[in-house]
Symmetry: C2
Subunit: 86 residues, 2 copies
C-alpha cells in the first residue's frame, strides 16, 4: 500500500485521508446485508486499504500496532477467550 | 482475533459489531492530532480489530480480500504507483 499510494496520501495528510476512510466505512455498513460475498470482500479491502494509508502517512506500522495490543489475548480482560461484559 | 472474540462477535452479528467499528473510527479521527504515537497506535489497533471481527462474523478472510483487490497495484488505474486523479 505504501508503494502504491504514499505519494498521494502524504500530500493529502492524515486528516484528508481519514475522510476517505469514513466514506469507505459507510459503504461497508450499507453493504453488510448484501449477499454478494465478492462485493462485501471488496468493501472490506477498501476499508483496510484506507486505514493502512492513514497509518502510512503517520509512519505507523499497522500490523505491529495490532499485534502489540491484541497479541492473541483481549487487552481488557487479558484472556485468550474474551470474558468482557460488552 | 477469531479465537479471542468470535464467541462474542457471532452473538452480536455483523450489524451490531459494525456499530463498534464506527465508534472506534470516530475515536481514531479525534486522536489524529494527538502527538502521542503510542495512543495513536492503540486506536489503529482497535479499528483493525473491529474490522477483523466483522469479517470473522461474515466468514470473510480480510487479508485475502485485501490482497485480491490491492495486489501491489491500484485497482482503479492498474498502476504500481497510483496515477488516479483523486
Amino acid at each position: 500500500m505504501k508503494r502504491v499510494y504514499f505519494h498521494r496520501d502524504s500530500k493529502r495528510e492524515a486528516e484528508g485521508t481519514y475522510d476517505w476512510l469514513v466514506d469507505e466505512v459507510k459503504e461497508l455498513g450499507e453493504d453488510l446485508k448484501n449477499e454478494d460475498k465478492e462485493s462485501l470482500e471488496d468493501e472490506f479491502a477498501d476499508v483496510l486499504a484506507w486505514l493502512a494509508s492513514i497509518a502510512n502517512v503517520l509512519n505507523i506500522d499497522l500490523q505491529k500496532a495490532a499485534l502489540t495490543k491484541y497479541n492473541n489475548r483481549c487487552p481488557k480482560c487479558g484472556q485468550a477467550r474474551c470474558i468482557c461484559s460488552f
